[in-house]
Subunit: 247 residues, 2 copies
DNA sequence: GGAATAGTGTCTCTGAGACATTATCTG
DNA sequence: CAGATAATGTCTCAGAGACACTATTCC
């Protein structure tokens, strides 16, 4: 019985939680799987690196408020300038609600993961004294604010596994892209080397994963590469398997 | 910047949300994929079927409060008597935070999915006038309270896909179980018929999925079946694929 | 031409699916 | 013994991985 009020609906009777949306914004920069971090300017955890995020607007009389997704999109745009109309992907990760995860008050955080093509350096937001793309492994090694190490770890595993059975790797590259560029996304995120020939065959044999634009990319050494765009399919069946991960 | 208060930490400055944990408790009853629903005794949506759930305790001075997971476990136990020590599985689905999803006030719901062995009929909780196991397809056809149709749809898809690449089917059967019983879980959840011989080979060839107890189950017609228990592995590699679902 | 990168051909091996056969139980 | 259910044997086919080879581009 979601949200049933036993008698009368007096909001003051219901425990107040503050709600935030925290983002794990991931991208691939020059072959490195990277995440957007900000450096906190204020206590608690002043000076620590943290995930970007912010409060969800609850609304007042006259204004309807926003969902956690709305808040996440707003934060993503503020932080990176992206709005997902051309490429990129945002999805909910999970919600972190342990009492005590924020030392000040009861804050529940809905965490999101974003997959974006590299949008250039970050601008430090109003409440951060610094912002930067950080290699994921290095970020996991830092002591982040709040429970953000846990959130980041969960997000990294989500991204890695989603590349196996979805076409979301295309969200990391701008269109059009070559098959080698797409392969480098997998290699960066999974930390492995893939067999180029077999990778290309697999991707092209999966209905709706990519389609040729007809153009080629030249300019670098070697034979010019055909260009592709994402062709709409969401799932990869059967999945691409990341090698050697369980053994 | 999760939960940063720009100046001073005055909780009254932060928008109050009520937080609930809603549960999609699934099981397999006699070959039918089923979900626990309760019938609401009070407005809003009095008389409508809904997912079980309840408020998350925020805590007060002296009491620490609980996480959404704590609340979900409490609700699961109240509703079914189960505590997951022997079998069963509970995981977060996602959080639903659209403004207006509850007509009374701003309620954010963290939804969970539970996989449990059939625990017998439900007892109607304090705030429900009825409670029952309902076939999933029938439940999806009803007009449930709040946005519970959406939550249920998301949960059903989660369960179906989780059976592909995890060993969670074992959470639906009591131990020990026969391979035929395990196969009937897949058949019920996916709504397909599986080839018994190939299923048994696949399950046994997957390291750590099941292990023989050495006992057999007799009493029904035909050759007696060997008994198994879950052997600890969480993932099925390569995944079991549900047939014909995309085509 | 030579190095570098893209793309193709093809072989092997594994595993899924289909189906036939054998084994063991109840009545 | 007949029927039912469990378990095994084996054939075929698709797809992943490995590797050799061809194609095209820049220098």
């Amino acid at each position: 019985m979601s949200a049933r009020a036993p008698e009368g609906y007096d909001p003051s009777k219901y425990p107040p939680f503050a709600l935030t949306a925290d983002l794990v914004i991931t991208t691939v920069i020059d072959g490195k799987f990277s995440v957007a971090l900000i450096r906190r300017g204020e206590d608690p955890y002043a000076g620590r690196w943290a995930l970007p995020g912010g409060f969800v607007g609850a609304g007042t009389e006259g204004s309807p408020g926003e969902s956690a997704e709305d808040a996440a999109l707003r934060e993503l745009s503020e932080e990176t300038g992206l709005d997902l109309v051309d490429g990129g992907h945002l999805e909910q990760l999970r919600t972190y609600s342990e009492p005590g995860r924020d030392p000040r008050m009861r804050v529940v955080s809905v965490a999101f993961v974003a997959f974006v093509p590299y949008p250039g350096p970050l601008r430090a937001g109003s409440d951060a004294c610094d912002a930067a793309w950080v290699d994921v492994d290095e970020a996991l090694g830092r002591r982040l604010a709040f429970d953000h190490n846990t959130i980041l770890r969960d997000a990294v595993e989500r991204v890695r596994s989603k590349l196996e059975y979805t076409t979301l790797a295309t969200a990391f590259v701008g269109e059009p892209f070559t098959l080698a560029e797409l392969r480098r996304v997998y290699e960066a995120v999974w930390g492995v080397e893939l067999h180029a020939a077999n990778f290309a065959r697999k991707v092209q044999s999966c209905e709706g994963f990519v389609e040729e634009t007809g153009e080629v990319r030249r300019g670098s050494a070697g034979r010019s590469a055909r260009l592709f765009r994402h062709a709409g399919a969401q799932l990869v069946l059967p999945p691409l398997m990341r090698p050697e991960v369980g053994t």
